[in-house]
Symmetry: C2
DNA sequence: TGACAAGTGGAGACTGTCTCCATATTTTGG
DNA sequence: CCAAAATATGGAGACAGTCTCCACTTGTCA
Protein backbone atom coordinates (compact mmCIF):
# COMPACT_ATOMS: atom_id res chain seq x y z
CA UNK A 1 0.00 0.00 0.00
CA UNK A 2 2.88 2.33 0.84
CA UNK A 3 5.35 1.88 -2.02
CA UNK A 4 4.86 -0.69 -4.74
CA UNK A 5 6.92 1.03 -7.42
CA UNK A 6 10.70 1.55 -7.37
CA UNK A 7 10.58 5.11 -8.79
CA UNK A 8 13.29 6.13 -11.20
CA UNK A 9 16.26 8.07 -9.84
CA UNK A 10 15.40 11.47 -11.30
CA UNK A 11 11.78 10.99 -10.35
CA UNK A 12 12.70 10.42 -6.73
CA UNK A 13 15.00 13.43 -6.83
CA UNK A 14 12.20 15.63 -8.08
CA UNK A 15 9.78 14.24 -5.59
CA UNK A 16 12.16 14.92 -2.76
CA UNK A 17 12.86 18.43 -4.00
CA UNK A 18 9.14 19.05 -4.09
CA UNK A 19 8.65 17.84 -0.55
CA UNK A 20 11.65 19.74 0.73
CA UNK A 21 10.52 22.98 -0.85
CA UNK A 22 6.98 22.42 0.38
CA UNK A 23 8.17 21.83 3.91
CA UNK A 24 10.19 25.01 3.76
CA UNK A 25 7.31 27.06 2.44
CA UNK A 26 4.80 25.57 4.83
CA UNK A 27 7.08 26.25 7.76
CA UNK A 28 7.07 29.82 6.56
CA UNK A 29 3.31 30.03 6.56
CA UNK A 30 2.98 29.97 2.77
CA UNK A 31 0.27 27.33 2.49
CA UNK A 32 -1.79 29.06 -0.11
CA UNK A 33 0.82 29.47 -2.80
CA UNK A 34 -0.29 29.06 -6.40
CA UNK A 35 0.29 25.45 -7.25
CA UNK A 36 2.03 26.32 -10.52
CA UNK A 37 4.34 28.91 -9.01
CA UNK A 38 5.10 26.42 -6.34
CA UNK A 39 6.31 23.93 -8.92
CA UNK A 40 8.49 26.62 -10.38
CA UNK A 41 9.95 27.40 -6.97
CA UNK A 42 10.83 23.78 -6.49
CA UNK A 43 12.50 23.83 -9.89
CA UNK A 44 10.21 21.35 -11.64
CA UNK A 45 7.48 21.60 -14.25
CA UNK A 46 3.81 21.82 -13.46
CA UNK A 47 3.20 18.40 -14.91
CA UNK A 48 5.78 16.84 -12.66
CA UNK A 49 4.24 18.40 -9.61
CA UNK A 50 0.80 17.09 -10.54
CA UNK A 51 2.10 13.65 -11.36
CA UNK A 52 3.67 13.27 -7.95
CA UNK A 53 1.00 15.03 -5.95
CA UNK A 54 -2.38 15.20 -7.60
CA UNK A 55 -3.74 17.53 -4.94
CA UNK A 56 -2.59 20.04 -2.41
CA UNK A 57 -3.60 17.63 0.33
CA UNK A 58 -1.48 14.86 -1.11
CA UNK A 59 1.52 17.14 -0.93
CA UNK A 60 0.70 18.26 2.59
CA UNK A 61 0.35 14.67 3.66
CA UNK A 62 3.72 13.78 2.20
CA UNK A 63 5.31 16.73 3.97
CA UNK A 64 3.92 15.78 7.34
CA UNK A 65 3.99 12.03 7.03
CA UNK A 66 7.22 11.61 8.97
CA UNK A 67 6.23 14.09 11.60
CA UNK A 68 2.94 12.29 12.06
CA UNK A 69 4.66 8.94 12.14
CA UNK A 70 6.97 10.20 14.87
CA UNK A 71 3.95 11.30 16.85
CA UNK A 72 2.39 7.88 16.50
CA UNK A 73 5.63 6.18 17.49
CA UNK A 74 5.74 8.25 20.60
CA UNK A 75 2.25 7.09 21.43
CA UNK A 76 3.26 3.45 21.24
CA UNK A 77 6.29 4.19 23.32
CA UNK A 78 4.21 5.87 25.99
CA UNK A 79 1.80 3.00 25.87
CA UNK A 80 4.62 0.57 26.52
CA UNK A 81 6.06 2.45 29.46
CA UNK A 82 3.19 4.10 31.31
CA UNK A 83 -0.13 3.08 32.82
CA UNK A 84 -2.79 3.31 30.15
CA UNK A 85 -4.54 6.43 31.34
CA UNK A 86 -1.30 8.30 31.87
CA UNK A 87 -0.14 7.31 28.42
CA UNK A 88 -3.34 8.70 26.98
CA UNK A 89 -3.06 11.94 28.86
CA UNK A 90 0.58 12.35 28.06
CA UNK A 91 -0.03 11.70 24.39
CA UNK A 92 -2.92 14.12 24.05
CA UNK A 93 -1.13 16.86 25.94
CA UNK A 94 1.96 16.34 23.86
CA UNK A 95 -0.06 16.34 20.66
CA UNK A 96 -1.61 19.69 21.47
CA UNK A 97 1.70 21.20 22.45
CA UNK A 98 3.20 19.97 19.22
CA UNK A 99 0.33 21.34 17.17
CA UNK A 100 0.72 24.68 18.84
CA UNK A 101 4.23 25.07 17.55
CA UNK A 102 3.58 23.38 14.22
CA UNK A 103 0.69 25.23 12.71
CA UNK A 104 1.21 23.57 9.37
CA UNK A 105 0.61 20.17 10.87
CA UNK A 106 -2.55 21.33 12.59
CA UNK A 107 -3.82 22.83 9.40
CA UNK A 108 -3.00 19.70 7.46
CA UNK A 109 -4.60 17.39 9.98
CA UNK A 110 -7.73 19.50 10.02
CA UNK A 111 -7.94 19.18 6.26
CA UNK A 112 -7.18 15.47 6.22
CA UNK A 113 -9.74 14.73 8.90
CA UNK A 114 -12.36 16.72 7.07
CA UNK A 115 -11.53 15.07 3.76
CA UNK A 116 -14.48 13.02 2.62
CA UNK A 117 -12.50 11.00 0.07
CA UNK A 118 -10.92 9.03 2.86
CA UNK A 119 -8.36 7.59 0.50
CA UNK A 120 -5.78 10.29 1.10
CA UNK A 121 -6.54 10.60 4.76
CA UNK A 122 -4.07 7.85 5.56
CA UNK A 123 -2.20 10.12 7.93
CA UNK A 124 -5.29 11.02 9.88
CA UNK A 125 -6.22 7.38 10.02
CA UNK A 126 -2.92 6.48 11.61
CA UNK A 127 -3.62 9.02 14.31
CA UNK A 128 -7.06 7.54 14.74
CA UNK A 129 -5.65 4.08 15.23
CA UNK A 130 -3.17 5.24 17.79
CA UNK A 131 -5.83 7.01 19.79
CA UNK A 132 -8.09 4.00 19.54
CA UNK A 133 -5.35 1.82 20.93
CA UNK A 134 -4.61 4.15 23.80
CA UNK A 135 -8.29 4.36 24.67
CA UNK A 136 -8.82 0.65 24.42
CA UNK A 137 -5.94 -0.02 26.75
CA UNK A 138 -7.26 2.45 29.29
CA UNK A 139 -10.73 0.98 29.07
CA UNK A 140 -9.32 -2.47 29.59
CA UNK A 141 -7.40 -1.20 32.57
CA UNK A 142 -10.68 0.09 33.89
CA UNK A 143 -9.47 3.65 34.34
CA UNK A 144 -11.71 5.30 31.78
CA UNK A 145 -15.30 4.90 30.76
CA UNK A 146 -16.16 2.48 27.99
CA UNK A 147 -19.22 4.17 26.57
CA UNK A 148 -17.46 6.85 24.55
CA UNK A 149 -15.44 5.80 21.54
CA UNK A 150 -12.26 7.02 19.93
CA UNK A 151 -14.33 8.75 17.29
CA UNK A 152 -15.47 11.27 19.86
CA UNK A 153 -11.93 12.00 20.93
CA UNK A 154 -10.90 12.34 17.31
CA UNK A 155 -13.72 14.79 16.78
CA UNK A 156 -12.47 16.90 19.64
CA UNK A 157 -8.97 16.74 18.21
CA UNK A 158 -10.37 17.81 14.88
CA UNK A 159 -11.83 20.85 16.55
CA UNK A 160 -8.46 21.64 18.05
CA UNK A 161 -6.75 21.27 14.70
CA UNK A 162 -9.31 23.35 12.87
CA UNK A 163 -8.87 26.21 15.31
CA UNK A 164 -5.12 26.39 14.83
CA UNK A 165 -5.04 30.12 14.45
CA UNK A 166 -7.52 31.31 17.01
CA UNK A 167 -6.07 34.00 19.23
CA UNK A 168 -6.56 31.98 22.39
CA UNK A 169 -5.61 28.72 20.77
CA UNK A 170 -3.31 27.29 23.37
CA UNK A 171 -5.50 27.90 26.39
CA UNK A 172 -8.61 26.67 24.64
CA UNK A 173 -6.92 23.62 23.19
CA UNK A 174 -5.61 22.70 26.62
CA UNK A 175 -9.09 23.24 27.94
CA UNK A 176 -10.57 20.82 25.47
CA UNK A 177 -8.04 18.18 26.39
CA UNK A 178 -8.70 18.79 30.06
CA UNK A 179 -12.41 18.30 29.53
CA UNK A 180 -11.96 15.22 27.41
CA UNK A 181 -9.62 13.61 29.91
CA UNK A 182 -11.73 14.54 32.91
CA UNK A 183 -14.81 13.37 31.06
CA UNK A 184 -13.22 10.05 30.27
CA UNK A 185 -12.00 9.45 33.79
CA UNK A 186 -14.30 6.87 35.17
CA UNK A 187 -16.23 8.15 38.14
CA UNK A 188 -15.45 5.64 40.83
CA UNK A 189 -17.41 5.59 44.03
CA UNK A 190 -14.29 4.69 46.00
CA UNK A 191 -12.48 7.86 44.96
CA UNK A 192 -13.57 11.07 46.51
CA UNK A 193 -11.53 13.90 45.13
CA UNK A 194 -7.95 12.84 44.95
CA UNK A 195 -6.29 14.41 41.91
CA UNK A 196 -4.60 11.86 39.64
CA UNK A 197 -0.92 11.38 40.33
CA UNK B 1 -24.71 47.29 12.91
CA UNK B 2 -27.49 45.09 11.60
CA UNK B 3 -29.37 47.32 9.15
CA UNK B 4 -28.49 50.97 8.65
CA UNK B 5 -29.79 51.31 5.10
CA UNK B 6 -33.42 51.05 4.01
CA UNK B 7 -32.72 49.06 0.81
CA UNK B 8 -34.73 49.87 -2.28
CA UNK B 9 -37.78 47.73 -3.01
CA UNK B 10 -36.40 45.77 -5.94
CA UNK B 11 -33.14 45.31 -4.13
CA UNK B 12 -34.86 43.73 -1.18
CA UNK B 13 -36.87 41.53 -3.52
CA UNK B 14 -33.71 40.26 -5.19
CA UNK B 15 -31.98 39.75 -1.91
CA UNK B 16 -34.86 37.68 -0.60
CA UNK B 17 -35.04 35.66 -3.79
CA UNK B 18 -31.34 34.93 -3.43
CA UNK B 19 -31.67 33.78 0.15
CA UNK B 20 -34.75 31.71 -0.59
CA UNK B 21 -33.09 29.94 -3.49
CA UNK B 22 -29.93 29.43 -1.48
CA UNK B 23 -31.86 27.90 1.37
CA UNK B 24 -33.57 25.56 -1.04
CA UNK B 25 -30.34 24.50 -2.69
CA UNK B 26 -28.48 24.12 0.59
CA UNK B 27 -31.26 22.00 2.00
CA UNK B 28 -30.74 19.83 -1.04
CA UNK B 29 -27.07 19.43 -0.36
CA UNK B 30 -25.98 21.68 -3.22
CA UNK B 31 -23.44 23.79 -1.34
CA UNK B 32 -20.76 23.80 -3.95
CA UNK B 33 -22.73 25.24 -6.83
CA UNK B 34 -20.92 27.61 -9.15
CA UNK B 35 -21.58 31.06 -7.82
CA UNK B 36 -22.53 32.39 -11.24
CA UNK B 37 -24.90 29.57 -12.06
CA UNK B 38 -26.37 30.05 -8.68
CA UNK B 39 -27.21 33.66 -9.48
CA UNK B 40 -28.83 32.48 -12.68
CA UNK B 41 -30.92 29.96 -10.78
CA UNK B 42 -32.15 32.66 -8.45
CA UNK B 43 -33.03 34.74 -11.48
CA UNK B 44 -30.62 37.61 -10.90
CA UNK B 45 -27.41 38.76 -12.52
CA UNK B 46 -23.99 37.86 -11.28
CA UNK B 47 -23.33 41.43 -10.25
CA UNK B 48 -26.43 41.53 -8.12
CA UNK B 49 -25.46 38.38 -6.32
CA UNK B 50 -22.00 39.73 -5.58
CA UNK B 51 -23.35 43.08 -4.47
CA UNK B 52 -25.63 41.49 -1.89
CA UNK B 53 -23.30 38.71 -0.80
CA UNK B 54 -19.64 39.30 -1.49
CA UNK B 55 -18.71 35.78 -0.49
CA UNK B 56 -20.16 32.35 -0.22
CA UNK B 57 -19.94 32.61 3.54
CA UNK B 58 -21.91 35.84 3.59
CA UNK B 59 -24.69 34.08 1.76
CA UNK B 60 -24.56 31.05 4.02
CA UNK B 61 -24.69 33.26 7.04
CA UNK B 62 -27.74 35.08 5.74
CA UNK B 63 -29.45 31.78 5.04
CA UNK B 64 -28.85 30.43 8.52
CA UNK B 65 -29.14 33.64 10.49
CA UNK B 66 -32.70 33.01 11.61
CA UNK B 67 -32.07 29.41 12.39
CA UNK B 68 -29.08 30.36 14.47
CA UNK B 69 -31.01 33.11 16.21
CA UNK B 70 -33.72 30.62 17.10
CA UNK B 71 -31.09 28.36 18.61
CA UNK B 72 -29.75 31.22 20.69
CA UNK B 73 -33.23 32.19 21.83
CA UNK B 74 -33.80 28.68 22.99
CA UNK B 75 -30.63 28.89 25.03
CA UNK B 76 -31.84 31.98 26.84
CA UNK B 77 -35.16 30.33 27.42
CA UNK B 78 -33.54 27.28 28.92
CA UNK B 79 -31.35 29.49 31.01
CA UNK B 80 -34.41 31.23 32.40
CA UNK B 81 -36.27 28.07 33.29
CA UNK B 82 -33.72 25.47 34.32
CA UNK B 83 -30.85 25.15 36.77
CA UNK B 84 -27.69 26.40 35.10
CA UNK B 85 -26.02 23.07 34.50
CA UNK B 86 -29.15 21.48 33.15
CA UNK B 87 -29.67 24.41 30.83
CA UNK B 88 -26.16 23.94 29.53
CA UNK B 89 -26.58 20.25 29.00
CA UNK B 90 -29.96 20.65 27.41
CA UNK B 91 -28.67 23.30 25.05
CA UNK B 92 -25.63 21.37 23.92
CA UNK B 93 -27.56 18.17 23.40
CA UNK B 94 -30.20 20.04 21.48
CA UNK B 95 -27.59 21.79 19.40
CA UNK B 96 -26.00 18.54 18.34
CA UNK B 97 -29.34 16.97 17.54
CA UNK B 98 -30.25 19.97 15.46
CA UNK B 99 -26.94 19.92 13.63
CA UNK B 100 -27.42 16.27 12.86
CA UNK B 101 -30.58 16.96 10.92
CA UNK B 102 -29.37 20.24 9.45
CA UNK B 103 -26.12 19.46 7.77
CA UNK B 104 -26.07 22.80 6.05
CA UNK B 105 -26.01 24.61 9.35
CA UNK B 106 -23.20 22.44 10.65
CA UNK B 107 -21.21 23.03 7.52
CA UNK B 108 -21.82 26.75 7.70
CA UNK B 109 -20.92 27.01 11.35
CA UNK B 110 -17.73 25.08 10.77
CA UNK B 111 -16.79 27.56 8.09
CA UNK B 112 -17.77 30.60 10.09
CA UNK B 113 -15.87 29.43 13.14
CA UNK B 114 -12.80 28.75 11.06
CA UNK B 115 -13.05 32.10 9.31
CA UNK B 116 -10.07 34.19 10.28
CA UNK B 117 -11.58 37.47 9.12
CA UNK B 118 -13.85 37.46 12.13
CA UNK B 119 -15.95 40.22 10.64
CA UNK B 120 -18.41 37.94 8.94
CA UNK B 121 -18.48 35.45 11.75
CA UNK B 122 -21.26 37.31 13.48
CA UNK B 123 -23.38 34.20 13.60
CA UNK B 124 -20.68 32.14 15.22
CA UNK B 125 -20.05 34.91 17.69
CA UNK B 126 -23.68 34.89 18.79
CA UNK B 127 -23.35 31.21 19.52
CA UNK B 128 -20.18 31.90 21.43
CA UNK B 129 -21.88 34.47 23.60
CA UNK B 130 -24.75 32.18 24.40
CA UNK B 131 -22.42 29.41 25.43
CA UNK B 132 -20.35 31.81 27.48
CA UNK B 133 -23.47 32.92 29.32
CA UNK B 134 -24.59 29.39 30.01
CA UNK B 135 -21.16 28.46 31.30
CA UNK B 136 -20.83 31.55 33.43
CA UNK B 137 -24.16 30.88 35.06
CA UNK B 138 -23.22 27.31 35.83
CA UNK B 139 -19.88 28.39 37.22
CA UNK B 140 -21.61 30.94 39.41
CA UNK B 141 -23.99 28.26 40.58
CA UNK B 142 -20.95 26.21 41.47
CA UNK B 143 -21.97 23.19 39.47
CA UNK B 144 -19.16 23.26 36.94
CA UNK B 145 -15.46 23.94 37.12
CA UNK B 146 -14.24 27.47 36.57
CA UNK B 147 -10.85 26.75 35.07
CA UNK B 148 -11.99 25.94 31.57
CA UNK B 149 -13.46 28.70 29.46
CA UNK B 150 -16.14 28.89 26.82
CA UNK B 151 -13.49 28.94 24.14
CA UNK B 152 -12.71 25.33 24.87
CA UNK B 153 -16.33 24.34 24.57
CA UNK B 154 -16.60 26.29 21.34
CA UNK B 155 -13.57 24.46 20.04
CA UNK B 156 -15.22 21.14 20.77
CA UNK B 157 -18.36 22.35 19.04
CA UNK B 158 -16.25 23.39 16.10
CA UNK B 159 -14.96 19.85 15.87
CA UNK B 160 -18.50 18.57 15.91
CA UNK B 161 -19.53 20.96 13.16
CA UNK B 162 -16.52 20.21 11.02
CA UNK B 163 -17.24 16.50 11.12
CA UNK B 164 -20.80 16.88 9.90
CA UNK B 165 -20.54 14.13 7.35
CA UNK B 166 -18.56 11.48 9.13
CA UNK B 167 -20.24 8.11 8.96
CA UNK B 168 -20.54 7.82 12.73
CA UNK B 169 -21.35 11.47 13.23
CA UNK B 170 -24.23 11.20 15.64
CA UNK B 171 -22.64 8.78 18.07
CA UNK B 172 -19.33 10.61 18.06
CA UNK B 173 -20.90 14.03 18.42
CA UNK B 174 -22.94 12.79 21.36
CA UNK B 175 -19.77 11.34 22.77
CA UNK B 176 -17.99 14.66 22.57
CA UNK B 177 -20.82 16.39 24.38
CA UNK B 178 -20.86 13.68 27.00
CA UNK B 179 -17.16 14.13 27.59
CA UNK B 180 -17.40 17.90 27.70
CA UNK B 181 -20.26 17.85 30.14
CA UNK B 182 -18.74 15.19 32.34
CA UNK B 183 -15.46 17.01 32.21
CA UNK B 184 -17.06 20.24 33.28
CA UNK B 185 -19.00 18.71 36.12
CA UNK B 186 -17.24 19.81 39.22
CA UNK B 187 -16.00 16.91 41.22
CA UNK B 188 -17.60 17.38 44.61
CA UNK B 189 -16.38 15.41 47.55
CA UNK B 190 -19.86 15.16 49.02
CA UNK B 191 -21.24 13.36 45.99
CA UNK B 192 -20.33 9.76 45.49
CA UNK B 193 -21.92 8.54 42.32
CA UNK B 194 -25.44 9.84 42.15
CA UNK B 195 -26.36 10.66 38.57
CA UNK B 196 -27.64 14.21 38.13
CA UNK B 197 -31.41 14.54 38.43
C1' DT C 1 25.59 0.98 -26.47
C1' DG C 2 21.04 0.56 -28.24
C1' DA C 3 16.34 0.28 -27.37
C1' DC C 4 12.69 0.62 -24.37
C1' DA C 5 10.53 2.37 -20.35
C1' DA C 6 9.91 6.08 -17.36
C1' DG C 7 9.70 10.75 -16.50
C1' DT C 8 9.65 15.74 -17.80
C1' DG C 9 7.91 20.47 -18.50
C1' DG C 10 5.35 24.07 -19.91
C1' DA C 11 1.97 25.83 -23.41
C1' DG C 12 -2.55 26.39 -23.40
C1' DA C 13 -7.38 24.70 -22.58
C1' DC C 14 -10.58 25.09 -19.05
C1' DT C 15 -13.21 26.48 -15.04
C1' DG C 16 -14.88 29.44 -11.77
C1' DT C 17 -14.52 34.24 -9.63
C1' DC C 18 -15.40 38.87 -9.69
C1' DT C 19 -15.50 43.73 -11.81
C1' DC C 20 -17.30 47.28 -14.42
C1' DC C 21 -20.47 50.30 -16.38
C1' DA C 22 -24.22 51.36 -19.77
C1' DT C 23 -28.86 50.67 -18.79
C1' DA C 24 -33.06 50.18 -15.99
C1' DT C 25 -35.87 50.94 -11.91
C1' DT C 26 -37.34 53.30 -7.78
C1' DT C 27 -37.75 57.25 -4.95
C1' DT C 28 -38.23 61.97 -4.02
C1' DG C 29 -39.68 66.58 -4.12
C1' DG C 30 -41.91 70.12 -6.45
C1' DC D 1 -47.87 63.53 -12.14
C1' DC D 2 -43.36 64.33 -13.74
C1' DA D 3 -38.63 65.22 -13.84
C1' DA D 4 -34.16 64.54 -11.70
C1' DA D 5 -31.46 62.16 -8.48
C1' DA D 6 -30.39 58.18 -6.31
C1' DT D 7 -30.13 53.41 -6.37
C1' DA D 8 -29.79 48.95 -8.36
C1' DT D 9 -29.29 45.73 -12.31
C1' DG D 10 -27.03 42.17 -15.28
C1' DG D 11 -24.00 39.94 -17.99
C1' DA D 12 -19.88 40.42 -21.01
C1' DG D 13 -15.39 39.79 -20.41
C1' DA D 14 -10.94 40.31 -17.73
C1' DC D 15 -8.56 37.53 -14.65
C1' DA D 16 -6.54 33.92 -11.80
C1' DG D 17 -5.81 29.26 -10.75
C1' DT D 18 -5.99 24.39 -12.00
C1' DC D 19 -4.81 20.67 -14.59
C1' DT D 20 -3.99 18.01 -19.11
C1' DC D 21 -1.48 16.59 -22.87
C1' DC D 22 2.23 15.07 -25.52
C1' DA D 23 6.69 15.88 -28.06
C1' DC D 24 10.84 15.46 -25.95
C1' DT D 25 14.55 14.10 -22.40
C1' DT D 26 16.61 11.02 -19.18
C1' DG D 27 17.50 6.72 -16.95
C1' DT D 28 17.74 1.64 -16.95
C1' DC D 29 18.82 -2.79 -18.37
C1' DA D 30 20.69 -6.44 -21.10
Amino acid sequence: MTDAKPLRADARRNRDALIAKARELFADGRFDLRFDDFAKLAGVGTGTLYRHFPTREALAEAVYREELAALCDRARELQATLPADEALESFLRGLVAHLHSHEGLARTLATLMATRSGALAEGAQALGEVITDLLTAAVTAGTIRADVGAGAVMMAVQGICAAYDHPTYQADADGVITLVLAGLRRPRADISHAPPA
